[in-house]
């Protein structure tokens, strides 16, 4: 029973930890499938976490906060599209520029609105939705935030369906593989990339807002802590396929949840606890090496499209 409970709490934590990274990674998957590497992801998640928190705090509505976070992410996605699609600027540098801009904006606004307080501000977060306390093991696993259910049961299947079963998904893949041919076939390369970057930005910001609105009920400087970069690695690991990206997010989430459990159990280990904090990042790099060898990058990734 103890072992079953351990596995149950571990599984529950895995799903919780994986949620924000999964949402962001799905957003990145679409962006890259359309040919744009969006390194703005870390900053978009950070600003999404702040906007969600701030709007929820002043309006008293968590859902309004979430909605505005998604809008902020979509706007940053459009800004990214403006630079990489319209101006055809180097994607690495403009993505990092977006990350720095979004992080700076969030920190500026946070200091401006909450700077004078001695205790960190917090809001009552989303609640976990299923309370089956009489079913010990299953109840623990299923007791998740609604957003976790939405991420795994709605967004992943939906994005897989859009990507592989709709004409829009076909256009996205065509634009990322061979924009010249797509253009010749009458697809508006620019429009597809704008739409995908906006939607992807929205998902990234939603991932960030999950952390501030559900998991923490607060906004802190270290709230994203490299999760955006992990998401980018997961996209490569998942070979730009939403369901494999989900698998990757569960591996990362599992490693992270395991270190949380080990810390919570207070085991006296001969190695510093930072080893466990670093472990998910190391596992991500190893996964990248293993998967990266047979990774098939979208052929037009990083290449701006010139219409001759």
């Amino acid at each position: 029973m103890v072992a079953a409970m351990f596995i149950a709490t571990l599984t529950a934590a895995t799903l919780r930890v994986a949620t924000p990274i999964l949402l962001a990674a799905i957003g990145e998957t679409f962006s890259e499938r359309a040919g744009v590497l969006n390194l703005g992801i870390e900053g978009i998640m950070f600003l999404g976490a702040f906007v969600g928190f701030y709007v929820a705090d002043i309006t008293g509505s968590l859902w309004t906060g979430l909605l505005m976070a998604i809008v902020s992410g979509a706007l940053l996605g459009i800004l990214m599209a403006f630079f990489t699609v319209s101006l055809r600027v180097n994607q690495h540098v403009s993505g990092l520029g977006i990350t720095l801009l979004a992080s700076g904006l969030a920190l500026y606004a946070f200091r401006l609105n909450y700077g004078g307080r001695s205790t960190p501000p917090s809001i009552p977060p989303f609640e976990q939705i299923i309370h089956l306390s009489n079913i010990p093991v299953l109840g623990t696993v299923l007791n998740q935030y609604l957003l976790t259910y939405i991420a795994f049961l709605v967004i992943v299947p939906l994005s897989w369906w859009v990507m592989y079963r709709t004409s829009f998904g076909l256009k996205v893949r065509a634009v990322g593989e061979n924009p010249e041919a797509a253009d010749a076939a009458g697809i508006n390369v620019f429009r597809i990339r704008y739409i995908v970057l906006a939607a992807g930005g929205g998902l990234m910001a939603m991932g960030g807002a999950f952390l501030s609105l559900a998991q923490l009920g607060a906004f802190t400087h270290g709230i994203i802590a490299g999760r955006g970069w992990v998401a980018i690695a997961l996209v490569i690991f998942g070979n730009w396929n939403p369901s494999k990206v989900m698998l990757g997010s569960l591996i990362f989430g599992g490693t992270y949840a395991l270190q949380l459990r080990l810390q919570a159990m207070g085991l006296q280990l001969p190695i510093p606890y930072e080893t466990f904090l670093a472990l998910p990042y190391i596992v991500t790099i190893i996964a990248l090496v293993v998967a990266g060898r047979k990774a098939s990058y979208p052929a037009a990734l990083l290449k701006p499209y010139h219409r001759e």
Binding site: L37, L39, F83, S86, L87, R88, V89, N90, H92, V93, S94, L96, G97, I98, L100, L101, S103, G104, L105, L107, Y108, A109, R111, L112, G115, N188, F190, R191, Y194, A225, G226, W229, V230, I232, A233, I236, P272, Y273, E274, T275, L277, A278, Y281, I282, T284, I285, L288, V289, G292, R293, R307
Partner: protein, 352 residues
Amino acid sequence: MPLPKFRLEKTGAPLWFRGLIPVITLALTFILTSGLIIWGKANPFEAYYYFLIDPLSGRVSFLEVLVKSTPLILTGIAVTVAFVSGYYNIGAEGQLYAGALAAAWLGTVLGGVSTPVAIPLMVIGGFVAGMAWALIPALLRVYLNVDEVVTTLLTNSIILFIISAILNGPWRDPQSGWPQSPEIAESTRLPQLVERSRLHFGLVIALIAVAVVWFILTRTSFGLKLRAVGLGKEGARFAGIHVERTMLIAALISGGIAGIAGYVEVAGIQYHLIGELSPGYGYTGIIIATMGGLNALGVGASALFFGLVETGAQTVSRALGVPVYLGEVTQATMLLVILGMFLLQRYRIRRV
């Protein structure tokens, strides 16, 4: 979609326009950030006075601009070497910490040597440490084709955990209990350049690095190979250049120079290693390298300007109560504006 109504034609911009680029960039950045300053209940013109002019008007604050520029010159130059070869080293931040770690250790064991001996030894120590931390992503990129952008970003996170483990473990200050390494020996500190200021010999090291990198990139056959690889791997390979080895060396030199940035911050300013040693100098280095046009001298100049922005952000925060993060927003805005400007410099807008 109304966008393709204009066409960009590839052409050199007229010379008068190139001269105007810095002016237009600054004006656009001012306009774009002034809304935030007004939100912070300050006058944008007054704020920009404190931001960009006030720091240059006094001796103390002017020297402080040079102090802030020192690590930025080094990270900017470090990023330049890698980017020129087409290796996207986003790991300067982590490599800086690796160099700082080495310097904090050397500073405690080299207590017996004199300063003129300690400086070159510690420069080498910082360089080797930064290089070592850059090695794994570089090898993965060159031999296994694993994207270096992602791995260098991930290794940036990892080294912060290593530093935290060391500062909370073996190096925790026994007296205060603070997570900071023991103070480095007096003789291993970088000497002051100007009396009663924080300006230290690290600036000279940084300027030497600019000169060396400028020389390598423009006056040696290795520099030519670097640029050839950066312009196109296939073409470079066709020209008989060993692409993998060239890129690997560029990545390692880049990491090494970023490591020296960590050394100068430890030995010139802090005198011990702390977890908050760098407020993102490695990332700012990417902006600086881009704005300097990946030209060593341009990068040096743009680092001095960013030293001004870093100092000015603190001045404006003290004077007007505007959050100090105005500095970050301004840097990022300026980067994005100038990226657009570079494009206009290379192309001309034509109505179709």
